[in-house]
């Protein structure tokens, strides 16, 4: 479960610090400081636990509600025991229910899987290609491209909603899988992450391969890329999470229900065209199932999530 490494300096200074405190005073003040500190510590734990509960409780309620019936969810929104226990939401989402398949959940799911796979594969490959070129290959216009990349990263995404639709429409690919996938195949932040990583790999590694007569691509593919495994894992996770959770792009790139993903489908179910009645257990179950893949990924690869969160800090 460990996420961030505790830095050694902290430990070291702690060791030098403690003898000084114990040496500085008599037993009386030290004991007093001890209780004061213990009370403070207890208080910190209390607050952390309370805040932690606030962070977890929505998910707990979501999971519990997914096993509830509509009246139970409405009457007992806080109840942590479903009464009666019901698998109806799950059955309905997978088309096994009595009331028919009102929610095309399987379409959403397969679209999400398909789109995520293509986008993730594309990003990992193209981002590392471009990142490698920007870090290592000497070609005219490289600095210009890199500066352009930094500028593009600064453009707020929401501003591009309408513009993106205009271009997709002009290209004649609006409302297709291509419109969903191709624009997301490369992402500026990913190129940046890969470039930073390739800069840290010693040049000698490639030179040996070059001298042996390997082409640039072959050097990249069989020598440098295998060394970039940690960065590639981070990029893969980041891309998976990003494309699985992507909403606004799919919203403006498609129109037909057949292209709905878990996010756009869920959104239309909750507040758009499919929305009818409350049906909260069903909605929360769909939301839960959309969360599970990312949750599994998160708990398996926490370290990489942490790294990607902090790669944002490198930007400045």
């Amino acid at each position: 479960m460990s996420t961030l490494p505790t830095t050694p300096p902290v430990r070291k200074t702690q060791a030098t610090w403690q003898p000084r405190t114990s040496g500085s005073g008599s037993a009386g003040p030290r004991a007093q400081g001890g209780t004061g500190r213990r009370i403070l510590l207890a208080f910190v734990y209390l607050v952390l636990t309370a805040v932690g509960l606030i962070y977890i409780l929505p998910f707990v309620i979501q999971i519990v509600t997914s096993f509830k019936t509509d009246p139970d969810a409405a009457g007992n929104p806080l109840g942590l025991l479903p009464n009666p226990f019901s698998l109806e939401s799950y059955r309905r989402l997978f088309g096994l229910g009595n009331s028919g398949d009102a929610v095309p959940f399987s379409t959403w799911l397969s679209n999400s899987v398909l789109v995520t796979l293509f986008i993730t594969a594309g990003r990992v490959f193209f981002d590392s290609l471009a990142g490698y070129a920007l870090a290592r290959l000497d070609f005219r216009g490289r600095n210009l491209l890199f500066n352009g990349l930094l500028t593009i990263m600064a453009v707020p995404g929401v501003v591009l909603l309408i513009p993106k639709f205009l271009v997709l429409n002009q290209l004649g690919i609006f409302d297709t899988y291509s419109a969903m996938i191709i624009p997301l195949m490369v992402d500026a932040a990913g190129v940046f992450i890969m470039r930073q990583f390739f800069l840290s790999i010693p040049r000698e590694v490639e030179e040996a391969a070059r001298i042996d007569g390997a082409s640039v691509f072959r050097t990249f593919w069989s020598v440098v890329l295998p060394m970039a495994k940690p960065a590639l894992i981070t990029l893969t996770i980041l891309s998976f999470q990003g494309s699985w959770n992507e909403f606004t792009h799919f919203l403006v790139a498609t129109q037909s229900p057949q292209y709905q993903t878990l996010t756009t489908g869920l959104a239309s179910f909750v507040s758009g065209s499919l929305s009818s009645g409350t049906q909260y257990p069903l909605k929360l179950t769909a939301a839960l199932l959309a969360t599970i893949p990312v949750a599994v990924l998160f708990f398996t690869f926490q370290r990489h999530f942490v790294r990607s969160a902090n790669s944002g800090a490198v930007k400045e």
């Binding site: 962070y55 929104p77 471009a130 490698y132 707020p156 591009l160 919203l251 939301a287």
Partner: protein, 385 residues
Amino acid sequence: MSQYGSGSGSVAAPPAAAGGDGRRRRREPASRIKGRQGLWGWLFVSPMVLVLGLFLLLPIGMALWVSLLNWDGQSNPFTGAADFVGLDNYSNVLTNDGLDRTLFMTSVRNNLYFVLLVVPLQTILALALAVAVNSRRIKGKSLFRTIFYFPSVTSSIAISTVFLFLFQGSGAVNALLKWVGITGPKWFTDADGLVWTVLGGLGIVDPDKPTAALASNGFLGLSWWDWLSGPSIAMCTIIALIVWTSSGTYMLIFLAALQDVPAELEEAALLDGANRWQSFRNVTIPALRPVIFLVLTLGLIGSWQIFDAVYVMSQGAPGNTTLTPAFLSYTAGFQDSEYGRAAAIAFILLAIIMVMTLIQRVLLRDRDRPARTAGRFGALRRRTS
């Protein structure tokens, strides 16, 4: 062995003997490699150039053109079938009286209050969590980190769905409030502004009867009463959602920075008689300044773009009090088919974000205290050690 053993090994010619000749021979392949690199370089970046150029750069140019048109999205905007209206779309939204401007200014007001609450709240919360979780004495730190960060990695749509359920009139939040004897509002249908509601609760103004002076005068198409009303109760739920989801990411950024603050600095301050709070205030905070700036900037940029939660939770309702410029741009284009106006709003939003970031940069640059503080404690450290 020692003859061949140095560096690049057996491939290299005896360096001293070859002299200038060897260097020339080496330069030729180098330039050939460079030429090849140029080709490969462009080949490697071509997917990036194509995709980012086509879907990021070109759209900006196209939208700039479309924002000067009265265009319904049907015809080709480049053939002259659409009316060229110049800056009309911009003036309709910014200066001309009318519904367009009222809607846009309402959305700006809503987003302004959203930013005013979200950015400080999420920054302070993230910093507090990071400090707590960074403490040496806390056990189970990694568990807490995981808990606080998890909401940030999940889908905004899924989370919004959950919050919609929690904040219903008879939902979990109100059930919790009932335990402590408070009757919660009907969150998503309550368009009352927070400022007037609070002042009304204190008996200072009547929230239902706008003060005449404030209601009859106005600025940019909204009355002062509207400008000053604060975020609506419905908007407060979205604020809660965003603070809750984004604090985890910023906590991690703070955490990474905290671990880089030299512990000796804080200790030196403590030895010098500063208490914990003073040491935090005068040593830790100045050391974190660049990161605080980063978090504030990212928060500001993010908050002006709030869209997903509005789409799922409220669609601008009630009474347009959760309408934001980003959502207004979307509905202007995709619901009203007024792509010119939609594009104009997008560009004004871009301008707002850029201006805000600049203002922030200038404000934070002027108070340049950290260098001095760090210097002082640096000297202090040298004295004590």
